[in-house]
Symmetry: C2
Subunit: 270 residues, 2 copies
């Protein structure tokens, strides 16, 4: 399966331009699944609730999701992309999953980071896993099970663990990382769950209030064995497609004696 | 609090010699808490159940635990040390906690690695946390809460998480690591739980059957902020004492909005 990781640099508030720029990348490179960063259409650093209300969109009827669906149809791909969702008076830091079939689902970020708690309501749905189709090299239709978590969800091991227990082959991880530790920690997340992880981060800086944020790039794909299959630079745009075999994530045995999920001893865990 | 990490190279089966060598280290360096490797007295690579039965000892009446208690009394220190425990017909890959007050508790490794499953019964007690005393620099008696996990327990995030939820300041981690990923992954364990982790690993090789094991050293102490405070070489003996403030582990807030334990959303975790 070909998985594409977009490392972009959204301009705050320039939604139409950010969407066009992102979709221009998937026009030129073929992938079965694309992962875009968190809030790829709006930018990150909101400074008022009013701003969030103005820039967030209903899903799937809003223009960003509609553009993503049109692109998924046109390029016969599946896209996981982070955007600000509006539902009534509530806004969520969400990620949509769209395919040529249309809008499949929305994940709402459960663990909000820092000032996101001022603007967004926390996710109100459990972690879930979805099957997507892809063509094998021999032409057959294959299934890949993908789970979604967003950025700061990484620091809670329960996020990736929940997705693995639900059967995820690939954890799609739209991000806007500012803290330094996540790229290395995602190696642990892949290892401990024996899953692929695909982190799509952004680059650049935002300083819309007194606090300057620098996003650390390093978008990456990590194998179930903890190998970094691809890592983007810290400060450059990137749209990289690599080939993975999702089935590698389905054997949780690491030797003749140990299976990472079956060896769990839940009755001793707090 | 001064914490000492012993990186040793046990000779298989030479229990008395291994214990004497280890204790000679704590005779020369002052620490409030020492962490020794997994199976520090016997060596690692058992090749028959008979051998395990012969080399394992009842706790606390066996000679190894008695020697550790005598050393703890003599040097006014607390020791966490891995050893093969015998209870009736069962053997456990255990770690004792001993202090000048005597034997405090035993942790029995819950997640056995590889052929350990042939020799040892899995731990049959939940993770627990214990308070130990140490003298502050001003002379007052302070408390440090320590949790114990052994080697391969690291790959299950639930191990360190359980200890953190129980209130551990320091996770003592006797190890005999052969896989390469643990030293980096323990940074994640410290970060995600905001605790100190103290991994005492061994060095050298064992090849008592057709499989040659190389132990990777790199014993280390990591801060709650994920900083490597000390890391030993891959292939050299080491007995290092460093100073930490256990109270650093008690504030789980990483900014004005996020507290790593309070932000958990258990009803969405599988």
């Amino acid at each position: 399966m070909k998985i594409g990781i977009l490392q972009s640099q959204p301009q705050f508030g320039s939604v139409a331009e950010n969407v066009t720029t992102a979709l221009s990348q998937i026009a030129t490179k073929k992938a079965d699944l694309w992962v875009f960063p968190e809030l790829f259409n709006t930018g990150y650093q909101f400074i008022s609730k009013k701003e969030v209300l103005a820039l967030s969109e209903p899903i799937p009827t809003g223009p960003t999701t509609q553009s993503l669906i049109a692109a998924a149809e046109k390029y016969k791909t599946t896209i996981v992309a982070g955007l600000a969702e509006r539902e009534g008076k509530n806004c969520y830091n969400s990620a949509v999953l769209v395919s040529p079939r249309g809008h499949i689902t929305t994940y709402r970020k459960i663990h909000l980071f820092y000032e996101e708690k001022r603007w967004f309501a926390p996710g109100n749905k459990a972690f879930e896993v979805y099957s997507i189709n892809y063509k094998s090299e021999r032409g057959g239709t294959m299934k890949c099970r993908i789970g979604i978590m967003i950025c700061f969800d990484w620091i809670f091991p329960e996020s990736a663990r929940s997705l693995a227990l639900l059967g995820a082959d690939v954890i799609c991880h739209p991000s806007n990382l500012v803290l330094p530790h996540c790229p290395q920690a995602m190696i642990t997340r892949s290892l401990e769950n024996r899953v692929f992880s695909a982190t799509a981060n952004r680059v650049g800086t935002e300083a819309r209030n007194t606090e300057k944020l620098r996003f650390i790039g390093q978008s990456q794909v990590v194998s179930p064995q903890g190998k970094i299959l691809f890592r983007a630079p810290e400060d450059k745009l990137s749209a990289k497609v690599i080939t993975i075999d999702p089935k590698e994530a389905r054997n949780k045995s690491i030797n003749a004696y140990n299976n990472l999920l079956k060896d769990r001893v839940e009755h001793y865990y707090f």
